[in-house]
């Protein structure tokens, strides 16, 4: 049987299962609340898989795998920040959920308006987070394009594959909303858990005789691939000793500031469901990322993998096992890309209509809000596709650069949940100065700053932003009504639900 028939049949089975999982359940009537946060009703199992899905984007198996192949264990920074990011999630998700439930929050901008009593901050945040997260779509489309090219053994070229995937994803997102996105994430999570682990363990066993043998072969090529940087490994350059630590710190602080993840907190059924989701994610998410990256490091041990383009090294290595293995890895990439793109685009559509349009036009019907959300979905998908077809830096370079932008919201979100004296002047100051510095560094030293010993400019900027936030907290008075919000964050879920029912 032709390999393309096998991989295509697997793809059809996979998506048939996805369609059945999503659409065989009666979906509640479509209102904007339902579209945006899935009716705030999901159990911890769904939230767990949603979190795993976000740490398993399609770009992991292409972009970070390329980093693993080229730069060895440097790419393991991803596993460390995954774990640290979950700790930040634990610290802020319960408080945010309670405010979300009581005040009907859906986005970070709305949280800022509630916490700092400042509408322009809501609008600015809505616009800024959209612009900053947008490049993720491009990286996911690139990953999906590689996957389609690989699974058709080059019969469908890269750009055509990317276009087909973009059309399919857009149609799916247009007619789904957050409920369908979360059910799809849950279904896809099983493919990452079972398919992913079996695939990578089998591949290392069959191709190298086991993990330790694989790493010994890598060591024979050059010990630097197995050495934590040691900063002379960033694609041939020497950033400095703080580079690796800086990558991890940026990921930890910025990981849950992305609008697509932030709004997921509000989709949970209760704070208990949110906390329960952390029973497994701290073990599972880092295990998956580390397994993928270690296998990608192993792909550098055989010259035939990634000979023409190192971004494809891992896929070529797994695909060398046969068409079934090729089918599974490309499905995992497509599932990862779909899970990232659907959550990003649907959350951006919500941010756009909720934070950028609604504050200026109060009499907007939920139906119009949904139509707007759908138009923005098409605009984002088409513009993402067009940009993805141009010459771009590597996937990891794109992502580490945008992380420097999103992390600037950390002081205003996190400190705003824990420090009553934090106020709107501090929030504006930290975000505006932080983003201005990031723009400066984006023009001058986008990847790292040599005179800071390799630290990324974004980390310096968020540090300065936090100092500004604290200083303003001591100079200016508290925002109106902040005491009440802190009381709300201390109440239990049932009390909030009872008040809501009244």
């Amino acid at each position: 049987m032709s390999p393309i028939i096998i991989t295509s049949a697997m793809l059809i089975i996979y998506f048939a299962g996805l369609a059945y999982a999503v659409y065989s359940n009666p979906l509640p009537s479509q209102n904007f609340e339902e579209y945006a946060v899935g009716g705030r009703s999901f159990r911890w199992q769904f939230i767990t898989m949603t979190i795993i899905g976000t740490w398993y984007p399609g770009s992991l198996l292409i972009g970070w795998a390329q980093m693993g192949h080229d730069m060895g264990v440097t790419a393991l920074y991803l596993g460390f920040y995954t774990l640290g990011g979950l700790f930040i999630f634990l610290l802020m998700s319960g408080k945010l959920w309670k405010l979300g439930k009581k005040y009907n929050l859906k986005t970070m901008g709305q949280f800022f308006q509630l916490r700092y009593k400042n509408k322009p901050l809501r609008v600015f945040t809505g616009a800024a987070v959209l612009l900053i997260e947008f490049p993720w779509v491009i990286t996911e489309l690139l990953a999906a394009g590689y996957a389609i090219q690989a699974m058709t053994y080059g019969k469908i070229p890269f750009n055509l594959g990317m276009t087909l995937v973009c059309i399919f994803f857009t149609l799916y997102i247009l007619f789904s909303g957050t409920r369908a996105v979360i059910i799809a994430d849950y279904y896809q999570g099983w493919m990452f858990v079972i398919g992913g682990i079996v695939l990578f363990v089998t591949a290392t066993q069959v191709l190298f005789g086991g993990l330790s043998d694989m790493l010994m072969q890598v060591r024979d090529l050059g010990a630097e691939l197995l050495t934590i940087p040691g900063p002379d490994t960033y694609w041939g350059e020497a950033p400095g000793a703080l580079f690796w630590t800086s990558l991890i710190a940026m990921g930890i602080l910025g990981g849950y500031m992305w609008p697509s993840l932030f709004s997921r907190i509000f989709a949970a059924g209760s704070t208990k469901e949110l906390k329960s989701s952390l029973r497994f994610t701290p073990f599972m998410a880092p295990i998956f990322t580390i397994l993928v990256i270690i296998t990608a490091v192993g792909s550098s041990a055989k010259i035939e993998f990634g000979e023409n383009d190192t971004a494809q090294a891992l896929v070529q290595m797994i695909g060398s096992l046969g068409p079934v293995a090729m089918g599974v890895i490309t499905i995992i990439i497509l599932a990862g890309s779909l899970s990232m793109m659907d959550s990003m685009i649907s959350s951006w559509a919500i941010v756009f209509s909720n934070d950028i349009v609604t504050p200026f036009k109060k009499e907007i019907s939920p139906k119009t809000q949904m139509t707007m959300a759908r138009i923005i979905t098409i605009v984002i998908a088409v513009s993402g596709l067009l940009i993805a077809m141009t010459d771009l830096p590597t996937i990891v370079q794109i992502l580490t650069r945008v992380y420097q932008g999103i992390v600037q919201f950390f002081p205003a979100v996190f400190l705003g949940l824990y420090w009553k004296r934090g106020n709107k002047v501090g929030a504006w100051g930290s975000i505006a100065v932080g983003l201005a510095l990031v723009v400066y560094f984006a023009w001058t030293q986008p990847d790292y700053v040599p005179f800071l010993d390799g630290m990324q400019g974004g980390l310096l900027a968020v540090g300065i932003g936090a100092v500004i936030y604290f200083v303003c907290g001591f100079i200016f008075k508290k925002d109106e009504g902040v005491d009440r919000l802190f009381d709300d964050m201390k109440t239990n879920d049932n009390q909030i639900i009872r008040e809501e029912m009244k």
Partner: protein, 37 residues
Amino acid sequence: MTIPEIIIGIAFLSAVIIGVVTSKYLLKKSAEADSDE
């Protein structure tokens, strides 16, 4: 088809089946819990 390919294929089918069956079960349970409230 080699043995590793068969193992990977079984893992693939298991993931699809478990994903469909458990999502249906959990959503049904949620709906029942909601209607009880």
